[in-house]
Amino acid sequence: MSFISNYIYYIGAFGLIFIGLYIVLVKRNLIKVIIGLSILDTGINLFLISIGYIRRGTAPIFSKINIEIARMVDPVPQALVLTAIVIGVAVLALALSLAIRLYQHYGTLNLRKIKDQRW
């Protein structure tokens, strides 16, 4: 029980990463692969933030003038994850535009059928 209460955030983040990787490896529809990519992205961001957590810490914002700075959570992973979320949305928009173009050309989104077509 103490094992679960210590590592519950890691279990959640790695569960998401594995489910995302499974969808990308196995599924055949292109839009389902892109959904898997989005779930993988969310899992990695959750893992990065859960590394920077300190027990009984508070958020790194000075809402009053003198607040005690002894136990503030690490601010560096939060800045990195803010960048990563916006880049994730940019990559997803570009991938979906490529999927729309593929559908207009081939008429199907099944990766097996697209690979089987010769030039």
């Binding site: 490896l25 859960s50 803010l82 960048t83 928009a93």
Partner: protein
């Protein structure tokens, strides 16, 4: 067959990762850089929000790279989806009066809320990216609620380019005035927790808020053109 092989591969990777992650303790204090930013962040930058001062002052060049990646994605999407056919004006049934009036009433309120979030980025949680996303969802509400009403594409492009230019010009001004490096914080720091404080941080966040909002609104407009 493919499922079984990929499940075995994922099980091996899971075992390897679990053996490594067990050595990372959860909730123990970790890095020295974080301690330096927390202790010295207030007098070196003047911002009350430490994450904002890390994103824009200590690591401002990475934010410039991220803005560039977002710009490349928007340009790439417009280039891939460009067609040469003329746009056929379909007959769109107009939405009912309650929906139309409600959306037009909510649109300036949501814009105001998004602007409040990115103007106070150095005092409260928030900032340019969150405020820009809220502005883009105000435009999404207009597209869904009042059908057939589009934002003019030229205004979106002009706003986006001008905001990007403001970011780079402020950085180059820092290089010219202060001396050593790009994105130098050269304006006065001010009193803590007042609105006009923290040097160039509010100016850059306002520029980023406009840029991200108009970019994502342009992406949604380009995707919704033909459907």
């Amino acid at each position: 067959m493919r499922k079984i092989v990929s499940l075995i591969l994922l099980a091996i990777v899971a075992l390897g990762i679990a053996l490594c992650v067990m050595n990372i303790p959860f909730g123990a204090p970790k890095t020295k850089v974080g301690n330096h930013y927390i202790n010295k962040g207030r007098e070196e930058t003047g911002a009350a929000n430490i994450v904002t001062s890390v994103v824009l002052n200590y690591r401002g060049f990475d934010t410039l790279g991220e803005v560039t990646v977002l710009f490349i994605a928007a340009v790439g999407l417009s280039a891939v989806l460009a067609t040469r056919k003329k746009k056929v004006e379909k007959e769109i049934e107009p939405s009912s009066m309650i929906l139309n009036t409600g959306c037009r009433f909510l649109f300036p309120l949501i814009l105001f809320f998004g602007a409040y979030i990115f103007v106070h980025g150095h005092l409260t949680p928030g900032g340019g990216f969150q405020g820009g996303a809220i502005i883009a969802s105000a435009f999404l509400l207009t597209y869904l609620g009042c059908r057939g009403r589009r934002v003019s594409e030229r205004r979106i492009k002009v706003t986006e380019s001008l905001s990007g230019l403001v970011f780079i010009v402020v950085g180059l001004l820092g290089l010219a005035v202060g001396g050593q490096y790009f994105l130098n914080n050269f304006l006065p720091k001010g009193i803590l927790l007042s609105l006009f404080s923290a040097g160039i941080i509010p100016i850059i966040y306002i520029a980023i808020g406009f840029k991200v909002g108009s970019e994502i609104a342009g992406i949604i407009d380009k995707l919704m053109e033909e459907s």
